[in-house]
Symmetry: C2
Subunit: 249 residues, 2 copies
DNA sequence: CGCCAGATTGAGGACGCTCAATTCTGGTGG
DNA sequence: CCACCAGAATTGAGCGTCCTCAATCTGGCG
C-alpha cells in the first residue's frame, strides 16, 4: 500500500469512527485522487489570502495552522497529525484566513477540492461526515481558547501534551510515549507563551514526575498527575462514537 | 411577519450571502419549524454533556458559548447575535462539549435537528451552506485564539468590539453605534482577562477617543484609531461573497 | 572543526491579577 | 415619591506570573 492510500485509510478510519458511512462512501474516500508532496521544516503550505483549490491530508510529520499579528507575533491555532485533513474547511471556504505551515518535515497528500466536493455531493452521509470532521476541529479550537484564556502556563502545556497523547494514540502510538515534533518555540506559539517560559514549565513538569520531553518524543511519567495538572477531559476530541462517553481519552 | 420568520430570514440572508443557494433551498430554510423561547439573563440554554436534539437560532439578545476549568474559571468561546444559529454544529455532533448560555435577555428559536438534517440531505447546495456556516464559526474561534494568545489587554478588547461592530452592521445596525449587551465580566471572560482590568482598558480606550461604552451600547469615536489599536482585519468574518475582498469589514 | 538552531539558565521589569473599598445604576417595595 | 437593595462599574494598592534581555550550553551537520 502506498503512502497516499495509507493516509486516506487513516483519515477514513477517523471519519468512520465518528459517523455512519455506507460502503459506497468508504470506497469514494479510498478512491480520492491526490499527489504526495514533501515539505521541509517551517515551509508555507497555504498562505494567507490565497484561494485554495485542494485540501491537504497529512501523511507524515506535523502541520500547524497559525495566525499572526501586525507586529509579527505568531499564534498557532491547530496541529494536524498524520490522518488529519488539515484544511478540510477550505473545501467549502476556499479563501484562506489562517495560514498553514509544516512544523517538522512533513509529507502531505494534496487532494483536489473538486474530487471531495463531488464525493460529498453524491452522498448525504459522507457529506455529513466531512462536515462533522470540521466541527470537531472547531471544538478543539474552543478548548484551546479555554486553555489559553484561563489556565496558567504549566497547565496549558500539560493540556496540549494530553491532547497530543490522545490524538496520537488513535493512530497507533503509545499513550505514554508519542512524537512531539515541535521546538519549544512552537509550543510557546501554540500556548500563547514565550519559549523561555515554556522551557521552565517543561522542567517543572519533569521535576514533578509528570512528563518529560526527550528528543522529539514525549515520555509520560505519570498520566494521572499530568492530566490532573492539565485539568484534562478528552471528550472534546470526540474520538469515536464509543469513546464519546464522558471522561478519559 | 412573526419573530420566527424574521429570525430565519436573517439567517437565510447570511447563508445566501456566502453561498450559492437554489430557490428550493431558500424555501426549505424559510419553512423550517421551530418554537420561540425566551431566556432571562445568564440562563443555561445547553448544558455540558447533554445530547442536543434541536438547534438554537438567536432571534433577539445575545447568546454565548463557554467552557470552564475545574477551578470554575469561565472562558467564553463565541458570541451569537440575532440571525446566528448558535449551535448549528450540534446537528452533526449532538454531544455538547461547550455549554450555551444567554448573556442578556435572549429570544431563541428552537429548531429540531431532524428538520435541518432533512433539508440538508435533500440538497447538496444547502448542505454545503450549512457546513460553511460552521466553518466560519471555527475561523472566528481561530481569530479569538490569536487575539487572546498574542495581543495585550487593550487590543483584545478593541478587537472584540470591532468584530461585534462588523457583525451587527450586517443585521442593520450602525457600524459606529451598536448593542453590547454584556457586562464587563462577560467581556473579561471573552478576552481571558479580569473584569477590573477590562474596566481600566475601557477607560483608556475612551480617553484615547477610540470607543465608549454607554449603557448597553458601544459608541465608536474613531474607527480608524480603534481598528488600528485592535490590529483588526475583518476578512475572517467572511461577510458575504463580495465582502470577501481583503481589509475593511 | 566551526557553525547554527535550539535548549537552558539568570536577573530584572512590566502587565495584568488579587484583595478591598466606594460609587453608580436600575429595579423593587413600602 | 423615596428608601432600599443587588448587581455592576470604578478606583486604589500591592503582588506575582510571565516577559524581556542577555549569556551560555548542547547537538547535529557541513
Amino acid at each position: 500500500m502506498d503512502l497516499q492510500s495509507r493516509a486516506l485509510a487513516l483519515w477514513l478510519k477517523r471519519l468512520d469512527s465518528r459517523s455512519v458511512l455506507t460502503d459506497a462512501d468508504r470506497a469514494a474516500v479510498r478512491a480520492l485522487p491526490g499527489n504526495v508532496v514533501e515539505f521541509a521544516t517551517s515551509r508555507d503550505i497555504l498562505r494567507l489570502g490565497e484561494i485554495a483549490h485542494q485540501a491537504c491530508l497529512v501523511a507524515g510529520g506535523l502541520v500547524a495552522r497559525f495566525g499572526q499579528t501586525a507586529g509579527g507575533l505568531r499564534q498557532l491555532t491547530a496541529f494536524y497529525i498524520p490522518g488529519d485533513m488539515a484544511d478540510l474547511h477550505s473545501v467549502v471556504l476556499p479563501r484562506i484566513t489562517a495560514a498553514l505551515q509544516s512544523a517538522s518535515n512533513a509529507t502531505v497528500v494534496i487532494v483536489p477540492h473538486e474530487a471531495i466536493r463531488a464525493a460529498a455531493a453524491g452522498s448525504p452521509t459522507l457529506s455529513r461526515a466531512l462536515w462533522r470532521d470540521c466541527v470537531v476541529d472547531a471544538q478543539i479550537a474552543s478548548e484551546w481558547l479555554l486553555n489559553i484564556g484561563r489556565r496558567d502556563a504549566r497547565a496549558r502545556i500539560a493540556h496540549l501534551l494530553c491532547e497530543l497523547s490522545c490524538r496520537y494514540s488513535i493512530i497507533g502510538y503509545d499513550r505514554m510515549r508519542f512524537p512531539v515534533e515541535l521546538t519549544q518555540t512552537h509550543l510557546a506559539d501554540a500556548t500563547g507563551l514565550t519559549p523561555i517560559h515554556v522551557n521552565r514549565m517543561l522542567r517543572q513538569l519533569r521535576e514533578e514526575g509528570a512528563v518529560e520531553l526527550i528528543g522529539r518524543e514525549a515520555q509520560v511519567l505519570d498520566w494521572e498527575r499530568l492530566s490532573a495538572i492539565a485539568d484534562f477531559d478528552g471528550a472534546y476530541l470526540h474520538l469515536g462514537r464509543d469513546a464519546d462517553r464522558a471522561g478519559g481519552c
